[in-house]
């Protein structure tokens, strides 16, 4: 091959490597952006869950001791958002909620006895719990995908992740009380419109 041909081949290889690297960098960058969005969304859903629990607690649905325990747990969780103790506080909130609402029969009785306003508050909380579970799942899924991408040799050798921190799962218990989330409820649902 002539010198010109050599130059052309090497140039083509270099161009291919550059394109490959920049494509990978772009994919990684988009993953990081989606991860940041998922993190923000999870925090928003957690905030929403604590607000809904507070509304239920102060709305006369629960006995006073349970209501007080729920308000305390909700406030503690809210103060911990974005801090190191966040997973522990959210786990405690889930535990407190399951104790406060009790068994599936207790929750069914609650639905049956709640008037329209209160049933609305409980339904909002159930929805919020479900959204927390979804946002939690999406967040951890993106963490796993980002981690897999960043473990690739090419990403590590070319330092494509730059200074972005290594992503971590957020491990907390997000299991809601039984029969609170709409999909868990018996098909009849709450009897709306009957005052307790």
């Amino acid at each position: 091959m002539s010198t010109l041909e050599w130059v052309l081949v090497i140039g083509a290889i270099l161009a291919a490597i550059t394109v490959a690297l920049s494509t990978t960098a772009g994919r990684l960058d988009r993953l990081h952006i989606r991860l940041a969005t998922a993190q923000a969304s999870l925090d928003r859903q957690l905030l929403d869950r604590s607000t809904c629990l507070r509304n239920v607690a102060t709305g006369g649905v629960l006995d006073p001791a349970s209501a007080l325990a729920a308000v305390d747990a909700a406030d503690a969780a809210r103060e911990a958002i974005g801090k190191a103790e966040q997973p522990a506080r959210e786990t405690e909130l889930s535990e407190v909620m399951r104790t406060v609402f009790g068994s599936a029969e207790d929750v069914d009785a609650l639905w049956a006895s709640a008037d329209e306003t209160r049933a609305g508050l409980i339904a909002d909380l159930g929805d919020a719990c479900e959204r927390v579970q979804l946002a939690h799942r999406f967040h951890d899924d993106l963490v796993a995908r980002t981690q897999r991408m960043r473990r690739k040799s090419v990403v590590r050798w070319a330092r494509l992740a730059g200074r972005a921190p290594w992503p971590h799962r957020i491990d907390f218990d997000d299991v809601p009380p039984p029969h609170l989330v709409a999909r868990d409820r018996p098909p009849v649902g709450p009897e709306v419109g009957h005052a307790a």
């Binding site: 006073p64 609402f101 009790g102």
Partner: protein, 377 residues
């Protein structure tokens, strides 16, 4: 007279309120009062015959510590049944502002109810939201007992109104019966002249119990008395406790973990000084009374509850709260003072008024008063 007594905290972790409820119930029983106690506990827990379990306790972050309490539908059903079966003349709840069975019993009660308030922390945070939850139950109280001037002040500030003070009780003889043998006066110490035994009691991992303040003061004490030995006894992980102590101080500190009541009495009898550096959140300080009953000289932070119990320094030395330097200075003064044992002797006589034989009848008089009768019931 039938009394229904409610303790909001589980007995599986010892604490001031739990001990108070058990000892008060036992003493009232000896006085011929029929007492039934409701408290968070599992059915298979080992409990005195007069205690009804309200269901498994859940740990709840509360008042700067973790309280084990019961709430939810199961606890509510148990409470309702206990109240119906008990047919009590007086319902006596403890710490009703805690989210647990005390508040439940009070909200369900239809008869005469009174409360003893132990906590010294006002619910300042989120007060606007929680006050309406508490008010209907609190309005049922015919009388409120507080355990100290500090608790009385907090109740007046956050709930308004007045309360009677009946201090926490103690079986004084359990502590007074142990012979006093402080390390600083032992034969070996007289020769060396620098041996001093210091004692810290309490859950050392909790910052508000003040162990860090004491550790800050320790180097100056060690410098003056190289034979100093600090014993740290209380519920907690000894490994965590050791990690709290700077390496250069470790030879002088012994972390023994949780001890029995008898062991505590022995440790107190052997201490040259008992130190209570608690930084706050205390409403009474029963452990100060225990130390005084055992004849141990007391050095305590000047938080209100402690200043009250020590009568502003007459019965023990006080130092500026959270100030390690002030604690070191006070400790050195006390350890150098040969009269510390005679002051401790005065305190030993004064604490007799906290004995259950004095305190329990005061509670009975409250029952008689709210029932509108005299002593003839």
């Amino acid at each position: 007279m039938r009394i229904g007594m409610v303790c909001p905290y589980s007995f599986d972790v010892p604490g001031g309120v739990q001990n108070h409820v058990l000892d008060l119930s036992r003493t009232l029983g000896e006085l011929g009062v029929d007492v039934s106690v409701l408290a968070p506990a599992a059915d298979d827990d080992d409990l005195p015959a007069y205690v009804t379990p309200a269901g498994r306790a859940l740990p709840l972050r509360y008042n700067g510590a973790v309280a084990r309490v019961s709430f939810g539908p199961l606890a509510m059903a148990r409470t309702r049944r206990w109240l119906r079966d008990g047919n009590f003349d007086v319902l006596h709840v403890h710490d009703p502002a805690t989210p647990s069975v005390s508040l439940m019993a009070l909200s369900l009660a239809s008869g005469v109810s009174i409360a003893t308030i132990h906590t010294s922390i006002g619910r300042s945070r989120a007060l606007a939201a929680t006050e309406p939850l508490l008010r209907p139950a609190m309005e049922k109280l015919s009388a409120r007992i507080t355990v100290s001037r500090e608790a009385q002040r907090v109740v007046a500030q956050y709930q308004g109104g007045d309360s009677v003070i009946i201090p926490n009780g103690l079986y004084v003889d359990d502590f007074a019966g142990v012979e006093r043998r402080p390390g600083g006066s032992s034969a070996a110490a007289t020769v060396a002249g620098d041996r001093r035994d210091l004692l810290f009691l309490g859950r050392f991992e909790e910052p508000r119990k003040g162990l860090p303040v004491l550790l800050e003061a320790l180097p100056r004490v060690v410098e003056r008395f190289p034979g100093t030995r600090l014993v740290v006894a209380g519920a907690g992980d000894p490994k965590v406790g050791t990690a709290m102590v700077p390496p250069e101080l470790r030879p002088y500190v012994e972390i023994v973990g949780r001890v029995s009541d008898a062991e505590r009495a022995r440790l107190l009898s052997e201490a040259d000084v008992y130190i209570a550096p608690n930084t706050g959140g205390e409403s009474f300080g029963i452990v100060l009374i225990e130390a005084m009953a055992a004849g141990a000289p007391v050095v305590a932070s000047d938080i209100r509850a402690f200043a009250d119990v020590l009568e502003d320094g007459r019965l023990g030395a006080l130092f500026a709260n959270e100030d390690g330097g002030a604690l070191a200075a006070t400790l050195l003064t006390v350890l150098d003072d040969p009269r510390r044992e005679s002051r401790a002797d005065l305190a030993r006589r004064e604490v007799k008024r906290y004995d259950w034989s004095v305190v329990a009848p005061q509670v009975v008089r409250v029952y008689e008063t709210v029932l509108g009768g005299g002593s003839g019931t």
